[in-house]
Amino acid sequence: MCDSCGCGDHELVPVDLHERILAGNDKTAAHNRSHFRAAGVLAINLMGAPGAGKTAVLEATARALAPARLVALAGDLATDNDAVRLTAAGIAASAITTGSACHLDAQMVHKALHDAPWRTADYLFIENVGNLVCPAIYDLGQAANVVALSVTEGEDKPLKYPVMFRAADLVLITKIDLLPHLPAIGIDRIAANLEKVMPRPHFLPLSATNGQGMEAWRSWLEGRRSAIGELSAAAGLFPVR
């Protein structure tokens, strides 16, 4: 109550927070991240458009990393098709069916972890919902964000979806076995566009079909895994200003 003049009006109180709206998600993500670090598992948030080849990359990754222990959480609006495919590829995979949500958040991942054998895994791949917009702003607790961009999507996708590519620690340029059929697409032009949205553009061209580039991807993963404990680039992506 206003007590300066006794008018009886309610008092208006300004509360300054200057807090990220996703602070709750960030907190759960930090919790996930501390679990992953403690267990020595490399958690990768794999994002990309629907059909970019995320699941195919993971199937090929299972072959490339054998005999490492891989766990995957596959997010989709509906069906567990991806989880079924990944399981067939030898990955301990479970589905996160989001219903109408266009992205995974840290809480969905945390909940899915209860049923997944991630504590004894070497790598945890979180295959996000196919979408180049929404997943980019949700920290899940990953050590690194990897974005799959297929050559068939067109070379200007980084310019159209800058937030997603800016969040990427690594871009996998997928389906390069199709390049002979795509005379208008060049890896160099994709790379030039990545440089306009990523201050430190890291990308690897690969084909899950013929195995080209898979060795470099495997080395990248093994390098990141041996660096667990160091502050990841992804962990620094969400500062409050």
Partner: protein
């Protein structure tokens, strides 16, 4: 369409603050959103007006301050124009985003009995 989930998080945060301070109503929220934060501002406002019904924010105004995107050299601080490679033309160091990706709740104006 993650704007709806952002609004849900926003309203939950405001509800917690209202409960903690035993406020009776919320008059105004001030948020800051970067123009390259991946948020559609109009959709964000529409989501707020849809979602605030029957919450503590029912009669609250929403002020959105849009922050322009700005890159600078992480070494010398020189501003770097968007649309070009994100490297300093002088010292070749990578650019650093200094504004434009914020999604921040700055202030809640609430009525305390």
């Amino acid at each position: 369409m993650h704007e709806y989930s952002l609004i849900q998080a926003l309203v939950e945060r405001v509800e917690a603050e209202v409960a903690a301070r035993s406020a009776s109503a919320v008059h105004r929220l001030s948020v800051r959103i970067g123009e390259d934060a991946g948020v559609d501002i109009e959709l964000f406002k529409t989501a707020f007006h849809t979602f605030r019904e029957r919450t503590v924010c029912e009669n609250a105004d929403l002020e959105v301050v849009v922050v322009p995107i700005e890159w600078a050299c992480q070494e010398c601080g020189r501003r770097i124009e968007p649309g070009r490679a994100l490297r300093c033309p002088e010292c070749l160091a990578p650019a650093r985003l200094i504004g434009g990706d914020e999604i921040i709740l700055d202030r809640i104006e609430m009525e305390v009995a």
